[in-house]
C-alpha cells in the first residue's frame, strides 16, 4: 500500500493530508455513537420518532448527521412482534453516517450469505432470542438506501435521559444482531 500511495502522491494524484483527514474522520468522528443519538432521541421524543420513520434522512439530518453512505436513509422499527436485520448480500453496503465503517463480520461471506436464508440461525449465533411468534424482516441493501434498525427500548429505562439512553445503544442493536439491554440497577 505504501508503494501505491507514494506513487500517487508523487504524481500529484492524491494529497497525503487528505488521506489523514479521511482516516481521522472514520476513526474518531463518525461512528455508531451518531446512530445511538438518533435512537435515543426517537425513544425520548414521539414526534421525532414519527419523523424518523417517515423520512429518516431528514430526521437524522436534524441531529447533524448525513452525507456519504447515509444520503438515503430508511429506519425500520423493532417491536414485540417484529425483528429487523440488515445485510448487504452483494457487497457491504452500510450506513456510514450513523454507524461508521462496518465491522469485519458484516462484510464477511458467512454473514452476507446466511442472513437472508437463515436469519434466525444467525440471530441465535449472536445470542439474540427471537420467538416463533415474532416476524423476522431481513433488509438486503441492494440499492443506495441505507438501513438503520430502531431497537426496542428496554423496560426499566423509563427514568433515563437521552444521553444515558444513547450510552446503552450498541452498533449491533442498530444492525439487528443484538437487543438493547437495560443497565443493571446499582447494588442489584
Amino acid at each position: 500500500m505504501k508503494a501505491l500511495e507514494s506513487l500517487l502522491v508523487e504524481k500529484g494524484l492524491v494529497d497525503p493530508a487528505a488521506l489523514d483527514a479521511l482516516i481521522d474522520t472514520y476513526e474518531n468522528k463518525v461512528g455508531p455513537r451518531n446512530g445511538a443519538r438518533v435512537v435515543a432521541r426517537a425513544w425520548s421524543d414521539p414526534a421525532y420518532k414519527q419523523r424518523l420513520l417517515e423520512d429518516a434522512t431528514a430526521a437524522i439530518a436534524e441531529l447533524g448527521y448525513g452525507g456519504r453512505q447515509g444520503e438515503h436513509m430508511v429506519v425500520v422499527e423493532n417491536t414485540p412482534t417484529v425483528h429487523n436485520l440488515v445485510v448487504c448480500t452483494l457487497c457491504s453496503c452500510y450506513p456510514w453516517s450513523v454507524l461508521g465503517l462496518p465491522p469485519a463480520w458484516y462484510k464477511s461471506t458467512p454473514y452476507r450469505s446466511r442472513a437472508v436464508i437463515d436469519p434466525r440461525g444467525v440471530l441465535c449465533e449472536f445470542g439474540v432470542e427471537v420467538g416463533e411468534e415474532v416476524e423476522v424482516r431481513v433488509w438486503d441493501s441492494t440499492a443506495e438506501l441505507r438501513y438503520l434498525v430502531l431497537p426496542e427500548r428496554p423496560a426499566g429505562t423509563e427514568h433515563l435521559q437521552e444521553d444515558d439512553l444513547a450510552a446503552l445503544v450498541t452498533r449491533d442493536a442498530m444492525v439487528g444482531t443484538a437487543k438493547v439491554v437495560a443497565p443493571k440497577k446499582a447494588g442489584a
Binding site: 501505491l4 508523487e10 500529484g12 488521506l19 438486503d140 440499492a143
Partner: protein
C-alpha cells in the same frame, strides 16, 4: 454477473466471527487503502457502480480469499490503470513515468469534511412514471446479465409485493458501464421467506430487497 460476490442464500461459508472491541482499521495499510480509494475517487473518473463492479471482476478464488481492504486495494489499482491516471508500468515500478507531469490533487484535507458531508446523492429529481404501485405483486425477472447488476440471484423468478416506492435512482446496470444513468423507480419489494427458500423457512419471515423497475415484471 453471476459472480461469487452474489452471496445471498449460499451455504458452507463457515461461522460468523464477531470480534470484541474491533478497531475501525486493523492496521495502517487498511486505513491507507480505504482513504486512497476515496481520494482517488475524487478525480470522478469512475462512479460508485463501476467501483463495485471492479471488485466483482476479481477472480472468484481471489474474491473469496482476500480480505475486504485487499479487495479495495486491488480494485483501486485496476481502476487507476483503466481510467488512465496511472500506467501499469508505474504500478509495477512504483515510479512515475519520466514523461508524466505532476497533477494537482482534487481533494485537499480542507475539502474532506465537505466531500463527506455532501456525499453522493444517487436519487434523481426527474419525472419518471413508476411502473408499479405499492401493494402490487411483482416478479423479479429471470435475467443473467454478464455485466454489473444489483438483482441478486436468489430473488430471480420469485414473486413479491411492492412495500414502498423509494423514488427515482440511477440504474447501476448501465451506470457501472458508463452507458448512462437511466434513472428509474426503486421499490422495496417484500418476498416471503417461504417464497424464496421453501418449506424450511419460517412462515412469518420475509426478505425486503430494493429493486429497480427494470428488474421487475407484473404478475
Amino acid at each position: 454477473m453471476n459472480g461469487v460476490h452474489d452471496l445471498g442464500g449460499m451455504q458452507g461459508m463457515g461461522a460468523i466471527e464477531p470480534e470484541q472491541d474491533e478497531p475501525v482499521f486493523h492496521s495502517e495499510w487498511e486505513a491507507r487503502a480505504f482513504a486512497l480509494n476515496i481520494a482517488a475517487g475524487a478525480w470522478r473518473k469512475w462512479n460508485i457502480d463501476a467501483g463495485r463492479h471492479q471488485i466483482e471482476l476479481l477472480p472468484a478464488v481471489d474474491y473469496l480469499r482476500m480480505s475486504y481492504y485487499e479487495k479495495w486495494a486491488a480494485r483501486l489499482a485496476e481502476l487507476l490503470v483503466k481510467h488512465g491516471l496511472v500506467s501499469r508500468e508505474e504500478i509495477e515500478s512504483g515510479q512515475p513515468a519520466r514523461s508524466s507531469a505532476k497533477a494537482t490533487p482534487p481533494l485537499t484535507a480542507a475539502q474532506v469534511p465537505g466531500l463527506l458531508r455532501s456525499g453522493a446523492v444517487a436519487s434523481r429529481n426527474v419525472s419518471v412514471a413508476p411502473r408499479f404501485q405499492k401493494g402490487q405483486r411483482v416478479r423479479a425477472r429471470n435475467i443473467n446479465p454478464a455485466g454489473h447488476t444489483r438483482l441478486p440471484r436468489y430473488a430471480r423468478g420469485h414473486v413479491g409485493t411492492v412495500d414502498r416506492d423509494h423514488g427515482v435512482y440511477v440504474f447501476p446496470d448501465t451506470n457501472a458501464h458508463f452507458l448512462g444513468e437511466n434513472p428509474q423507480h426503486v421499490y422495496s419489494v417484500r418476498f416471503t421467506a417461504r417464497e424464496l427458500w421453501g418449506e424450511q423457512a419460517s412462515e412469518r419471515d420475509s426478505v425486503y430487497i430494493d429493486l429497480w423497475d427494470d428488474y421487475l415484471e407484473p404478475v
